[in-house]
């Protein structure tokens, strides 16, 4: 619990101002904590009088044997014969962490057919690649993939395991963390090494992006995190890089799964669920026609996002109603909302203003959409959007 030293407390109110949870208030000159407290310790850092302390933090977990765990691992996400792009981003981020700590960076590849993939992973920065190659890994199942990664981790003891915050990563990585009884931080957007002790600091958004939290896992290993795709930067591949490939065999009983994949159905682009899309590209009256939405769809596809529209565009028949965002449509709060040619009537704003980042592109510098935008671009959507598509393609391919 949060302990308040009432002799030390000077009632300055810094804790109250800085509590994100409305859990601490100064009453009659002394701080008082209520049941909203999540023991996050935010107030402790702000207290200049040293009056606050989180009890129990210092005694939890096991500190013994942490030194036995060493090296940074990246889970190389494999599905339907290919490696997910987030893997290369993680190798880029992992490379920095490994260099900083002067430890090797390893990739873990679980697959039914490794082929040239280990070499590919090395070219993106891995010093070594652990490969488990087995027919049982042809389809993703939480049990087989989870057990394989768990067994490898127990055998080789990495201090850090990173995976993409993808459908696969967010499904089976919690299994590994729970089995290893260690901490896991989901959907990180920033990773740092703490100077004093080399611990991994994992920063992630919470409360729908309204606050950021930095998490550490001081007493157990490995330190595990899933990382949001498209946040980290991949290094350019270097085909000349050398590395070791370590083949590892997992016993068949550990690769058995009580869940069996029967069939896969690919989703069409416009079946993307607007409410769950991380990126939404939206068009309004400024698109002028159905054709205008083709470039919106292309940008959305490129960014792995969903297509949305204002009521004006839907009413004009340029795009069907399920895409409508706003008072009479859907309410969305993606990580990025790109409003193209949308003036920003209040009916539209209520449906999207809680997005983490809003990019507005509009010809009219006085359009109300700019009032809620994080980034505003005054210009012609027909000029900017196609150029933006080209630019992203160019960056991606380089």
């Amino acid at each position: 619990m949060l302990l308040i030293d009432i002799d030390a407390c000077i009632g300055c109110g810094l804790c109250e101002e800085n509590c994100a949870f409305d859990a601490i208030h100064v009453v009659n000159g002394i701080a008082e904590v209520n049941e909203n407290c999540t023991l996050c310790g935010g107030c402790v850092d702000y207290c200049e009088a040293g009056a606050l302390k989180i009890e129990g933090k210092e005694e939890c977990g096991e500190k013994d044997g942490l030194a036995a765990w060493s090296g940074i691992w990246v889970y190389a996400e494999y599905r339907h014969g290919r490696i997910a792009p987030v893997t290369y981003e993680l190798l880029g981020a992992g490379r920095k962490l490994a260099d900083q700590k002067k430890v090797p960076l390893s990739a873990v590849l679980l697959t039914d057919k490794a082929g040239g993939m280990p070499a590919q992973l090395i070219s993106y920065g891995a010093d070594q690649v652990y490969v488990v190659e087995d027919h049982a890994l042809a389809q993703f199942t939480d049990e087989a993939y989870g057990n394989a990664l768990e067994d490898l981790a127990r055998q080789y003891k990495p201090e850090v395991i990173l995976a993409g915050a993808t459908a696969i990563g967010r499904s089976f990585i919690p299994r590994v963390a729970t089995s290893l009884k260690t901490g896991l931080t989901a959907d990180c957007t920033q990773l740092d090494i703490q100077q004093e002790d080399g611990a991994l600091l994992q920063t992630r958004p919470a409360f729908g992006g309204n606050i950021m939290a930095t998490i550490a896992c001081p007493n157990t290993r490995p330190q595990m995190a899933t990382v949001r795709p498209l946040v980290m930067k991949a290094n350019a591949p270097d085909p000349a890089r050398k590395g070791d490939v370590i083949h590892y065999t997992i016993s068949p009983d550990r690769l058995a799964s009580r869940v069996k994949v029967r069939n896969f159905v690919a989703l069409e682009g416009d079946q993307v669920n607007l409410n769950e899309a991380d990126i939404v590209v939206s068009g309004g009256r400024g698109l002028e026609s159905e054709k205008g939405f083709q470039m919106i769809a292309e940008l959305a596809h490129l960014l792995d996002g969903a297509v949305a529209a204002s009521r004006a565009a839907v009413d004009s028949g340029w795009i069907p109603y399920p895409h409508q965002v706003g008072q009479t449509g859907k309410t969305v709060s993606p990580k990025v909302y790109i409003a193209c040619g949308i003036s920003g009537a209040i009916q539209h704003l209520v449906g999207m203003q809680s997005s983490d980042t809003i990019i507005a592109i509009n010809r009219d510098p006085h359009a109300p959409i700019f009032n809620v935008a994080t980034y505003g671009v005054v210009g012609d959507v027909f000029e900017i959007v196609p150029k933006l598509i080209d630019k992203i393609k160019q960056v991606r391919s380089s």
């Binding site: 933090k57 919470a206 939290a213």
Partner: protein, 259 residues
């Protein structure tokens, strides 16, 4: 079929806003609600009950006032409600939470099927469902978007993936986490509200769980919050200036950074 639905009380995210002046969270008028994804889990449980028979028990870990969402769940069709509440659980991360929930489920006699929302909107971790299944040693499927076949022994469900969906087969007992598209949750009914008002909620404390206290709450949590801070302020708009190409270049760079 005995179905347990895990629900969580969360602050209504759409109300939680940053005060642009003080750079702190504005909490005025923030309502506590049932985690929206959990409403879909509950709805699916009630539909299964209506189709194949059985009971639906809602389970939550939280402070005493979390009983509100249990009553709300009962008014929407759940039969029984269990509140797991104790100061000893405070500060639990997902690992400690799954331990506590698994002990509670064992205490109330287990389940054929456990349903959870995909994630909670306050933490967005999506870890409790899978972790709970591991604790219970039962198979799980995350992000279920449709139940295709259901009987006493096995289910066929569609699991949402990044590139489409997998149709998977799983034997019971099992745990699913569900996405919003699985159904449209019903509203409470007047009769349900009357029942909810009268229902006695089973309350379990740490002492009732036969739990290893070292695995509860803060002590059982390997992750610590080092710092909580406000993200880059929204509303502080940056206009991207320059020639069209300059604007596009800057925009592309931002997109790579933010997406």
């Amino acid at each position: 079929m005995k179905i347990i639905v895990c629900v969580k009380q969360v602050p209504d995210a759409k109300d939680v806003r940053l005060d642009p002046k003080t750079n702190t969270l504005s909490r005025e008028g923030v309502q506590s609600i049932i985690n929206p994804y959990d409403r879909h889990a509950l709805e699916e449980a009630v539909r299964l009950k209506e189709k194949v028979g059985g009971t639906v028990t809602v389970l939550t870990m939280g402070p005493p006032q979390a009983a509100e969402i249990l009553r709300e769940s009962v008014s929407c069709g759940a039969d029984e409600a269990v509140l797991v509440s104790d100061r000893a659980f405070a500060g639990a991360d997902t690992l400690a939470t799954t331990y506590t929930l698994s002990q509670a489920i064992k205490k109330i006699g287990g389940a054929d099927l456990i349903l959870c929302g995909k994630q909670a909107i306050d933490g967005d971790t999506a870890q409790v469902g899978p972790g709970l299944a591991v604790r219970m040693d039962i198979p799980y499927v995350t992000c279920v978007r449709r139940i295709v076949e259901a009987n006493d022994k096995a289910f066929v469900v569609e699991r949402l993936m990044d590139d489409g969906y997998d149709e998977v087969e799983v034997t019971l007992p099992a745990l699913f986490t569900v996405v919003k598209e699985i159904n449209e949750p019903r509203l409470p009914s007047l009769k349900g509200k009357m029942r909810a008002k009268k229902l006695a909620i089973t309350t379990l404390s740490a002492g009732d769980l036969d739990a290893d206290t070292a695995q509860l709450g803060l002590k059982g949590s390997p992750t610590w919050v080092v710092k909580v801070f406000a993200p880059q302020l929204k509303g502080e708009r940056t206009m991207i200036e320059g020639t069209v190409q300059e604007q596009v270049d800057q925009l592309a760079e931002k997109l790579m950074e933010w997406c």
